[in-house]
């Protein structure tokens, strides 16, 4: 399912589904009808009359119903409201429960992938910059907020692999490579006034990985 969707001119969803059916031997036409009903899409209305979000829903319904072993989704939830987005995620999950399917999703909006993906890869200039299981990202990277009794500075983090360090007032926020255990031990030894471990979002992982590569627009501007 591409970012730039394509439907045959003047086709409705049913006709598009028939095209997919002719191409994919395991295509499930019943699923199309079922999902169209759930998403309240008129099967016989011309797709060109649909909104951007509805067109994306049509494409997703057709793609899911192919029952292919591998599916590629590009900017899957672009233009879709949060309610339908959650519904589509459920549909995708259900599909994966129904049949072992590998789904690869690409998106610039990483938030929408957090709760659905098992693995994450960061693409940069045509190559994979970073690749990890979502769960292990939390164990391999730690976001910590702390304030020391005296002056808080980065020297306190010596010996740790700091990927990002920012200080606002006397409170510093750092992203450090490594698990919580070793970082907590190191910082607690400094008797901090504040020591909080914050959840790390995929966007932050992406941004800090990019910063490591010198991909910092903040500094440019």
């Amino acid at each position: 399912m591409p970012d730039d969707l394509y439907f045959f001119p003047n086709y409705n969803l049913l006709e598009m589904a028939e095209f997919y059916q002719a191409m994919y031997p395991n295509f499930d036409m019943g699923n199309v009808k079922n999902l169209a009903e759930i998403l309240k899409l008129n099967l016989k209305a011309k797709i060109k009359t649909f909104s951007k979000g509805m067109k994306r829903q049509c494409a997703l319904i057709c793609a899911i119903s192919t029952n292919a072993d591998y599916m590629f989704f590009d900017e899957t939830f672009d233009g879709i409201d949060p309610v339908v987005r959650n519904l589509l995620k459920q549909i995708i999950r259900k599909q994966m429960e129904k049949k072992p399917t590998t789904i690869i999703m690409t998106s610039h909006n990483l938030k929408e992938l957090e709760d659905i993906c098992d693995n994450l890869g960061l693409l940069y200039k045509g190559g994979i910059l970073f690749e990890s299981e979502i769960n292990s990202i939390n164990t391999s990277m730690t976001k910590v907020q702390f304030a020391l009794n005296g002056e808080t500075n980065q020297e306190a983090l010596q010996g740790l692999e700091v990927m990002s360090y920012k200080k606002v007032g006397s409170v510093a926020t750092a992203i450090i490579k490594g698990g919580r255990g070793s970082i907590r031990a190191k910082l607690e030894a400094l008797n901090p006034i504040i020591l909080d471990f914050l959840p790390l979002t995929l966007e932050e992982v992406f941004i800090y990985e990019m910063e490591v590569l010198g991909y910092e627009f903040n500094q440019v501007l």
Binding site: P2, D4, L5, Y6, F8, P9, Y11, E15, E18, F19, A22, M23, Y24, A68
Partner: protein, 654 residues
Amino acid sequence: MSLIKSFNFNFLKQNIKKSKGAIILSLIIVPLIISMYLVVYGLELHTPEVVPTTTIGVIDIIFMYIIHFVYSALLFGFVFKKTSTDFMNSMPINRKTMFITNTIGGILLITLIQLLSGFFALLWGAVFKNLIIFPSAVLDIMIVSWISYVFVFIASNLAMTFSGTHQAHFITAVLILFLVPVCVELIGSIRKYETYKNMEYNSSVYSYGYNYDLSIVDGYQTTYYRTLENIKDYTMPFKLFRYGLQYSWESNLRMIGLSILYFVLGLKLYQRRKMEHSEETYESQKMHIFVKSLTLIPILLVVDRMNVYSESITGLIIAIIFCAIYYFIFDIISKRKIPFATTVASFAVTVFVIQAMTTFLGNIEYRQSDVDADDIKSISIGKNSNSSSLYYYFVNDSEYAFDGDYFIKDNQILELILDGRYKVLDPTTAFLDKGGYVSKDIYFNIKLKNGKEYYIETSIANKNYNEIISILSRNEEYNEHMKKQIIKKNGIIQIGNDVVDNNTKRKIEKLMSQEDINIFSSNTNSVNYITKTVYQGHKIVKYQIPLNNNEELLAVVADFANKQVLENIKGYQYNISVDVYDKSSSIGHYYGDSEILDFIELHSADEFDSSKKYYVLYGGLQTRNGYKNFVFYTNSTKELDKILENSTSSKYYW
């Protein structure tokens, strides 16, 4: 087997379905327009007429240039748009299957068009009794059209494989189809081939007159001719420009061979096609410039042929500016930005290369020589104009086909043809010869002993022409050959304009096979003949068989004609025009009121005796059902003489 394995019917069905409206229209438009054309043609006919193959095939000719682009664009059009090409290529179907399926699909659609067109042509032939369409002619048109359509479609698919836009696709396809033959033609006209002086093409003798003849004698280089091999070899799309839809195995085989080659090449290129270059003319800038330069070749050759360079320096400058403007406009239309310096450089190189090439070819020395009868292996003759009263001597009616079937090897005839040609070209005799209507326009096809073959449209002195006829009429081998041709084919037999019924036809054919029929007549002013029209040798051929020396045949013919005559004169409205002949020559012309019709009505039931003195009446009259012709045979010659003598209005004797 590989082709069948790679054919995906589901994909084809869906691919056709998405453009079903346009495809249905394309399927019905050719048969529909053929039907409309034949219906109008049929409604306008008041007398039976054999429909020439070019008339049946005329719609095919027009659509040959349209259908292939339509199908290529409908079946492969997705490659010219990024979103659609991404979408189609994301489907679980490989490119090989996609290409083969679409190609076979296009061919199937073309087959359907031809079958429908053929069916409707035959249908309207059956509906309108005056519309005579030979099934074998329809079959030939279907075969030629099918091969041509498939060839153009496959060439168009090949063009698609390396084009990124519809415009680029169109230009590339046109180049594939026409560049080579157009260049051969244009370069051929610049280049001075080996020339045989007395066989040069010279159809303009009449219109240019005496001075032009002198210029021919002074410099043969200015005249223009071509060889038959080239004509036959050309692929149909180009051949159509010059010669219409003609059946030629050389052309068909070339199209089949090229279709296979283009298909294989297209498949390979399609598999390697960089789909991301959709919406750009060609994959690379170099390719774009190369194609653009190729399109400039025919333009430059035409400019060269017009001799604008030699006229003046202004002509040269205008020509270069014209070509340069075209060269820049090409980029604007194709929306491709090419650096100015690159455009100028490529333009200069193209102009230089083409000029060098044409100069080189133009300066090749050629051998100019006379041809002797001994150099000629054989000659066949066709007739040039249907207005000639000598119509029936040359059995191949060149209105439909220009080359004859029978090659004459008689040295005396060959000498007469060459001598007749010399006389027309000779400025001392040509003027008189032509001014007095004593030369004949003919087509002939000459095979030389050195293997060369020429098709020539020319005129020869009338005296020589008549001598040739006289020799042929005595030539047993030729007579035997013609008789075989006449008897073995079915076709139709006409007396005047009337097509004889099956019973009469059988009787005539039986007599023709039994009798020693002399197919020549020494008299040129008689209408006392029957016409047999057949479709043979992939063309419509008319045989005219004189009746003046065939009494039994004449009796059968007269019996049919006299029964038919009352039907033909029914509904008489205005004046009647009648030519009267005896056994072999004209007696008079009658133009007047219904007096002669009363005579016909009175004697139509008379027993006709072909051994006695008789007159043949060949008339035309306006009836309520349109203009009709009739033929009437009578032994009441004295009574008719009296009518002719008493008739004062517009009557004259020859």
